[in-house]
């Protein structure tokens, strides 16, 4: 009875929908304003989204993109900080969600900048969370829906279907905690597209940790969804992706819509300069290696390293890094490129031998690694990189304080007092240097935008003045202008202080622009090390596991 009614409603609304296509956009954002305690973040934002349309939302770090999406999705943080002004219309009706659950029911899905998955559940379970297929059993009559038995086979089929729509190869029984980061991202998206009634999908930097090939798989999936009539808002700092999939581009700067144009009328260079408000050059950083660089001593030598990092296992890596060089590590997700740095830091169980500066480095002991002069930018900034509820200044100074006794004033009795003046001073210096957008050194890190949080992670390791810097995805989520700045700062440290850098990144372009050599990891081993100016095709082949020496021209 109820179902018949429901069906009737659906037919009616879809008829209405067709009639209204020309008049009403699917989603319409009108005059949105938002401030956080007087700090204006969005001023008078308006734009529309049609059925099957993909709108690219671009802007600098802290421009207000995530905030706008949080408003759309009814994230509690918006209400807690005083709500917003303006209206959002879905199918011509005003909506204002107090809770993400309402948004989901209304047909809005969101893939967050930070993950919202349950690590100890499998892909299937995460995808179908709260929407499990159930089997009828008599207990339901007595106790209600909650006691329906889960129909595992049907669930798996649905999960597989959702994953296939995306065109990736994730086994439905993989635990999320065992997945490489980009697979987590695909799982999040699969979760959203399994929802049948979904009309609008919001994607907040889903591709930030993907390699090029994964990202292009992802973009294809987006186009497929668009063909099904789903409207999408896509946020990314990789502007070529925006140009590739979007129908329309909305540029935010300082909380205002600066441009709202069809994608066909934009070029990469234009978008970048609209975002930043000035011309953005695209200089390459690669320095000419001077002669004396060639014969510097070996700083780090790794022999038969094995690291048991879930989703990024390292099976057998031997590698030498020369003092003062920048070594890039690349490879597809899940092949183990991230495991190397995590292993050297002692964050995941490791075996093998590591010699740093002529001395063996104890494994599985982060403190010893730090003391030996190694610093680490984690690829997981929320999980490992930051104390979200603490101030910017404490985050920046924390490691240096614990490991090197910096930022400390000694009081009588051997008490090591935090020197807040020094903390302030160093935080201010980094805020200027890395252009971190914040209200000051005392702002809590959780209140910063994603890209600015990443800059805090960078500042934290620079405050350590390390000998060896392990940087995993150091520019994750950082906008196009600031990326240049961050890379420049890294290179400056490398040249001035002779800091050796091992940089792991999923972005090949980035590695090529700053590194001296690039090592490619495949199935937990290094398949080849090439100079940074090696042809793209060679690197591409290496990433797929084809050793260059063995079969130079086959593939």
């Amino acid at each position: 009875m109820f179902q018949a009614f429901h069906l009737f409603q659906m037919i009616r609304s879809s008829n209405k929908g067709e009639r209204q296509i020309s008049s009403n956009p699917l989603l319409s954002i009108k005059n949105i304003q938002k401030d956080f305690y007087g700090n204006k973040v969005l001023e008078d934002i308006s734009f529309d989204l049609d059925r099957g349309e993909i709108v690219g939302l671009v802007g600098e770090n802290g421009a207000g993109k995530s905030t706008l999406m949080n408003i759309l999705f009814g994230m509690p943080v918006i209400q807690k900080t005083g709500g917003y002004k303006g209206t959002v219309q879905l199918n011509g009706k005003d909506i204002c969600f107090r809770d993400p659950v309402d948004a989901i029911e209304a047909g809005i899905g969101m893939v967050h900048q930070e993950f919202f998955l349950i690590p100890s559940f499998t892909a299937t379970e995460n995808i179908l969370l709260n929407r499990e297929s159930t089997q009828y059993n008599f207990l339901v009559e007595l106790f209600g829906d909650r006691l329906q038995k889960l129909d595992r086979t049907a669930m798996k089929e649905r999960a597989i279907r959702a994953i296939q729509t995306l065109g990736v190869d994730i086994h439905p029984d993989t635990l999320v905690s065992e997945m490489p980061v980009s697979y987590k991202q695909f799982t999040e998206i699969a979760r959203e597209i399994d929802r049948e009634q979904m009309k609008v999908l919001v994607l907040d930097e889903p591709t930030a940790v993907m390699t090029e090939s994964e990202a292009s798989t992802f973009l294809t999936a987006m186009k497929r969804l668009a063909a099904r009539g789903i409207g999408q808002i896509f946020i990314s700092h990789r502007l070529h992706e925006i140009l590739e999939v979007c129908d329309k581009i909305v540029v935010l700067r300082d909380g205002k819509v600066i441009k709202n144009i069809p994608a066909s009328e934009a070029t990469l260079r234009n978008i970048a300069s609209w975002m930043v408000g000035r011309e953005v050059g695209t200089t390459s950083f690669r320095r000419a290696r001077s002669a004396d660089d060639q014969d510097t001593s070996v700083l780090l030598s790794i022999d038969k390293l094995k690291v048991d990092m879930p989703g990024e296992r390292v099976k057998n890596v031997s590698l030498e890094v020369r003092e003062g060089e920048i070594l890039g590590i690349g490879g597809l997700a899940g092949q183990g490129k991230l495991g190397i740095a995590n292993g050297i830091m002692g964050l995941y169980p490791a075996q093998g031998s590591i010699i740093l500066n002529g001395k063996p480095l104890p494994l599985n002991n982060p403190l010893e690694s730090l003391k030996a002069g190694v610093a680490f930018i984690s690829e997981d900034r929320r999980g490992v990189g930051l104390l979200l509820n603490e101030s910017l200044k404490l985050n920046i100074a924390f490691t240096a304080m614990q490991v090197k006794d910096r930022f400390i004033k000694r009081l009588p009795g051997g008490i090591k007092w935090q020197d807040w003046n020094e903390l302030d001073a160093s935080a201010k210096e980094f805020i200027d240097r890395l252009e971190i957008r914040c209200t000051g050194p005392d702002q809590r890190v959780v209140e910063l935008s994603g890209g600015n949080q990443q800059k805090v992670c960078v500042a934290k390791v620079l405050a350590m003045e390390p000998k060896l810097l392990l940087a995993s995805e150091p520019t994750r989520g950082i906008d196009i202008g600031a990326k240049q700045l961050v890379l420049e700062v890294l290179r400056e440290f490398n040249q001035r202080d002779r800091t050796t850098i091992v940089m792991t990144s999923s972005e090949l372009q980035e590695l090529r622009s700053i590194c001296d050599r690039i090592a490619i990891v495949y199935e937990g081993e290094i398949v080849g090390i090439v100079p940074a100016d090696a042809p793209m095709e060679d690197i591409g082949l290496l990433m797929l596991g084809n050793k260059l020496v063995d079969e130079p021209t086959h593939a």
């Binding site: 305690y37 730090l370 490992v384 924390f398 490691t399 614990q402 008490i415 935090q418």
Partner: protein, 348 residues
Amino acid sequence: MRNIFERAINTLGWARLIIAAFLLVLFCVAPFVGIRIDTSLSDILVRVGMNGIMVLSMIPMIQSGCGLNFGLPLGVIAGLVGAVTSMEFNWAGFFGFFMAIVFAVPLAIILGYLYAQILNRAKGDEMMIATYVGFSSVAFMCMMWLLLPYRNPLLLWGFGGTGLRTTISLEGFWLSILDKFLSFRIGSLFFFPTGTLLLFALACLLMWGFFRTKTGAAMMATGSNPLFARANGVDTDQMRTLSVIISTVIGAIGMVVYEQSFGFIQLYMGPFYMAFPAVAAVLLGGATINRATITNVVIGVILFQSILTMTPSVINNVLKTDMAEVIRIIVSNGMILYALTRKEQAKK
């Protein structure tokens, strides 16, 4: 202006504003049902001083991620042993009080260390383990109070029996020694327990100072993000152990302070329920299971003790019955329940 107001609500929280408003109502009603405001205020101050340090002892463990210290009875037991031992030697006055603390602290350190070893093996289930540790230690001590070789007849069961009494009076030892230190009266009924409150303030100050040190920062990081702490060179197990020891030691000192104000030492089942009011107070003050500040402690203990003092006497006088004790139990447990439900919310 609006912003300041919003921030205030955000930091204080609706729950505390409502409780404060309810208190205000009680205070307005009180004079009309024949309750003297000055006596009530005085009662509240004494109770705040009496319980404050024990509530404060919650902070280190919460901050290091060990959760709410339901194992407070361990500290309490150390405090009791310290007091009884000092009395065994017939030491009175400030010296007696001081020596009670001197005996209590080393014991608290040992107990805290052992307790921490258990907690470090049960990461994630700390609070359940803590509750059991608290309860079983009380049971164990029930036996020990009978067996320990104390000889002072003032402490023992009458007429040469063996074992310590259930209730020992501090009369003639160090009764109200801190309460009376520098204390003053306004009128005949208002009494200000200066010494106790001063010690509470000093303890708060030291606690604040501790979290401004390098070790304090490491402890805080251990609680708020253990992965971060480990990756940044903090030995998390060591920090947790340290936090449990500090919590237990402060609990022990808090107990000695409590005794001097209360006037009696209650052995055997006495420590059994000590943890809950302290836990409830810190939660009422706005702490969550992994974040607590000095402000949470001060606000929490004041609100909890005020409600506990005012509600029974007002209701008692309104209904003209003698149910003060029953109402006190209802109110106190009601607040504990409320605070514990808030704990679940905070976890999300």
